[in-house]
């Protein structure tokens, strides 16, 4: 077993442990892997314990076969970094960074698969190009917000580069945790690269007129459905007979619940109409509510900055979600995103909306790497269609900005890594890694022929992600975003447990108002007004409606 295989095996084992602890049907794999790990201990030569070996392994980069699309993309990234064009952001970053050879950068990544890119690809490649080392600090999702704050309060300088959700930018910028990049951008970046961002994502790191990071992960929700089920003649006939209309991929949330219920009635327990990740803290609830609420015409706050969710639109949204729950796979309310993927890949669900890795996993591309072997092989490859979510306004849920830690001891070196990693050729290669969970976000990603060769339906997959971004909605980007969303998650889980929707909405609205008052009504009003100016803030303000839609 070489170093790469050991790392991947370890990552897979950790993922298996996590999956096992979540109660997913991977017990046999877990026990097998655990047995393998125990058996390997005496002969592994310190596989688990040797920090030196681990550090050495981190510095070893492995490129894919240059004949594969990923291998070609990696070769292009390497060429752009080492040979130019001389005005390219990747080349400029590498040339400028060589003066910092020997420095070590600590960078946070979401724990698990996200960390494999800097460990296996971008980190070692950067070190090879510049002599700058990197240490990947893996953090669970909620800690990606709290740990940088805690380290900033302690002024430890523990991190140089932070992977952050765009919605956290105002809080972390105001709190002094992250530093603006404008001066560095002016000094080092090819400004044309900023224009390569999809318009929905371009402004995400901007706050109070400054740029606080580089957007780096297009987490756009999309609808994935089983084409074979929707094309089944018997089902079509039965649906026509029952509803006097054609069985089609749903375009409204009411249709979605109705179609899901119909499929469940016809095909359960073999296949259920839909599945959702509704577990508390998962965090599907708030994203789903925010996309449906705004798609139904809702606005989060009124002119006086009072929460305006406890109304008919809010009730309609929750009732639609309840109807979808009833039509879903058993245990729907206790599933998280990964559990749902497992059910989907095993062919138990006809429709699901989730993040872009769903498409790559469905095609079986992600599972081509051992690191992601905790996800079952796809039993539905070639049977999956892509569409914009019902309602027509998908949520851009989470996403990541790469941000510069204000307490970094090596801010310039850290910035240069960020510019390099997010440059068009390098970011394309990173997005194409089967295990990395980084999703396309640049126009050049959506248009990439190499990406389109990754699996047979990749061109349609990319086209749907681009089309979804054209009509997509952003998470609210303003101070208190964490608090507002926590209230929504609580609200939804209490409704799933039987609380009256209006009562739950009123409780959440009261919590929102308390948060707003705590942060200052006028200040929050100003932030909200700024947010409303962003493309994708509301259903009436999407990239498409502003005439900026990207056509491939």
């Amino acid at each position: 077993m070489n170093d790469r295989e050991k790392r991947d095996f370890q990552a897979g084992l950790e993922a298996d442990v996590d999956a096992f602890l979540r109660g997913e049907p991977t017990r046999r794999t877990f026990i097998k892997r655990f047995g393998q790990a125990m058996g390997m201990l005496p002969i592994a030569g310190g596989m688990l314990g040797s920090g030196v070996q681990w550090a050495l392994a981190q510095a070893k980069m492995e490129l894919e076969d240059p004949n594969t699309p990923l291998g070609k993309a990696q070769a292009l990234a390497l060429k752009a970094s080492s040979e130019g064009p001389a005005d390219g952001s990747a080349f400029r970053a590498v040339e400028a960074a060589k003066q910092f050879a020997g420095v070590n950068l600590n960078m946070t990544y979401e724990a698990g698969l996200q960390g494999l890119d800097p460990r296996n690809f971008s980190g070692p490649l950067w070190e090879q190009l510049t002599g700058i080392k990197s240490t990947v600090v893996e953090l669970p999702s909620p800690d990606m917000y709290s740990k940088p704050i805690a380290e900033h309060i302690a002024q430890s300088g523990a991190y140089d580069i932070l992977d952050l959700q765009p919605q956290w930018t105002p809080a972390l910028a105001d709190g002094g945790v992250i530093a603006p990049l404008d001066d560095y951008i002016a000094k080092y970046m090819n400004m044309a690269d900023l224009e390569d961002y999809h318009p929905l994502y371009k402004a995400l790191p901007t706050y109070k007129g400054k740029i606080w990071g580089f957007f780096d992960d297009g987490d756009m929700f999309a609808l994935y459905y089983r084409k074979d089920i929707f094309e089944d003649p018997k089902l079509n006939e039965a649906y026509q007979a029952k509803f006097n209309k054609k069985l089609e991929v749903p375009k409204t949330w009411e249709d979605y619940a109705q179609v899901a219920q119909f499929i469940t009635d016809q095909m359960a327990p073999n296949v259920y109409g839909a599945g959702h990740f509704r577990k508390a803290g998962s965090p599907g609830n708030q994203f789903d509510f925010m996309q449906q609420f705004r798609s139904n015409g809702g606005m989060f706050f009124d002119d006086g900055m009072k929460a305006s969710i406890a109304n008919d639109i809010g009730v309609k949204t929750l009732n639609n979600m309840i109807a979808a729950n009833k039509a879903s796979i058993p245990g729907n309310e206790e599933l998280d995103a990964v559990s749902l993927w497992v059910a989907w890949l095993q062919g138990k669900i006809a429709m699901m909306y989730s993040w872009p890795p769903t498409g790559r996993m469905s095609a079986g591309y992600s599972q081509s790497d051992k690191a992601i072997s905790f996800i079952p092989q796809s039993s539905i490859a070639g049977k999956v269609g892509y569409a914009i979510v019902p309602g027509g306004n998908p949520e851009h849920a989470f996403g990541f900005n790469k941000a510069l830690a204000a307490d970094s001891a090596n801010p310039e070196a850290a910035y240069l890594f960020m510019q390099w990693a997010c440059s068009p050729p390098v970011s394309l290669a990173r997005c194409m890694l089967p295990y990395a969970l980084r999703d396309p976000y640049r126009i050049s990603h959506f248009k990439s022929e190499l990406y389109g060769q990754l699996f047979p339906s990749a061109p349609e997959y990319l086209a749907n992600l681009n089309a979804s971004a054209n009509v997509g909605l952003l998470d609210p980007i303003m101070p208190g975003a964490q608090d507002y969303q926590l209230s929504l998650d609580r609200m939804c889980t209490s409704v799933w447990a039987g609380t009256d929707p209006m009562e739950a909405l009123k409780t959440a609205a009261a919590e929102w108002d308390a948060t707003t008052e705590n942060l200052g009504v006028d200040a929050q009003k100003g932030f909200y007004q700024e947010f409303l100016k962003l493309p994708g803030a509301t259903a009436a303000n999407t990239v498409e409606k502003l005439g900026m839609a990207v056509k491939l």
Partner: protein, 310 residues
């Protein structure tokens, strides 16, 4: 050695050279210094710092640390989630401790007499005490997960009909689940302490009672209980103090949900402190909770000391 002359010729008594006495005094403090510094650094300083945080704005999302008077306290006191979480803490800790006490006592009574395999059985029974509460919570999530856990399936076999209880996401089953997990882990604690108490009762007392024809219930009530009363109080005190800090299993099993229905005081403080980063509110809440806990501790310790005197 008269007059403080040591074997090596140095003076050690009042007649010693003043500079040597001074040096001894300093040396005493030097020995104590590491422990004192450590306590100051990790205990006293944070405590004093928290007093300052109580009266200023230390909310990460609001710049500056302006003086806010008692606002942090009023925010906690007027927060319905805070009041509810306190209620949940009282209810859950009371139910947990009462059930664990009764079950632990029953087990201790059953194990008080020697029999073949008793040692092995006791060893097995106390295993849950050595498991991290996080792991215990995760195991119970696996057991109770609906529909993939075995509990509903086994109940279905037992009852002869399909069982679809949402143990983790529906009231009141989420409370039942939390109590089950807590009981599984902590009943052995009660059991061990009460067993120690029971085995310390002199056998001749029981023999005398038997000769006098005292019934089983009367023996238990008038001999066993008075003998082990201090141990009972000790077990309940220790367990209660631990139970009111309930956090781990809630964090893993229910995440405080659905809604905020299983928020304990600790979980509430964690959420506002380390999820939302309202640090001054969390500190005020922690002080309120600590004062309430101190009242309980004071009452229980007084009872405990009184029982020891008797």
């Amino acid at each position: 050695m008269a007059n403080g002359i040591a074997a090596d010729g140095r003076t050690s008594g009042p007649g010693r050279h003043p500079s040597a006495r001074k040096s001894d005094n300093w040396f005493k403090w030097l020995l104590v210094a590491p422990a004192a510094v450590l306590i100051l650094a990790i205990s006293i300083y944070p405590l004093l710092f928290s007093v300052w945080v109580l009266f200023v704005n230390y909310d990460f999302q609001i710049p500056g640390h302006a003086y806010v008077g008692l606002k942090n306290f009023t925010q906690v006191i007027t927060d319905p989630v805070a009041r509810y979480s306190l209620w949940v803490t009282v209810v859950l800790s009371t139910i947990n401790v009462v059930l664990e006490f009764l079950l632990g006592l029953a087990m201790a009574m059953a194990m008080a007499n020697t029999f073949r395999g008793r040692g092995v059985l006791i060893s097995i029974l106390i295993v849950p005490l050595f498991i991290s509460p996080i792991i215990v919570g995760q195991v119970w999530v696996l057991m109770l997960h609906s529909p993939f856990g075995p509990t509903n399936y086994l109940l279905g076999l037992l009852l002869g009909q399909e069982v679809n209880i949402r143990w983790l996401t529906a009231f009141p089953w989420n409370f039942v689940a939390l109590v089950l997990a807590d009981m599984w882990q902590w009943t052995p604690f009660m059991f061990v302490i009460l067993l120690a108490g029971l085995t310390s009762i002199p056998p001749h007392v029981y023999e005398a009672a038997e000769l006098d024809g005292v019934g089983r219930w009367q023996t238990f009530w008038y001999i066993t209980v008075p003998y082990i009363a201090p141990m009972m109080l000790l077990a309940v005190t220790f367990r209660l103090l631990d139970a009111i800090r309930l956090f781990d299993t809630i964090f893993i099993m229910t995440g405080g949900g659905p809604g905020t229905s299983t928020y304990s005081a600790s979980y509430y403080l964690y959420t506002i402190g380390f999820t939302q980063f309202h640090l001054s509110r969390a500190t005020a809440g922690a002080w309120i909770f600590m004062i309430l806990t101190l009242l309980v501790v004071f009452f229980l310790v007084r009872r405990l000391l009184r029982a020891e005197v008797r």
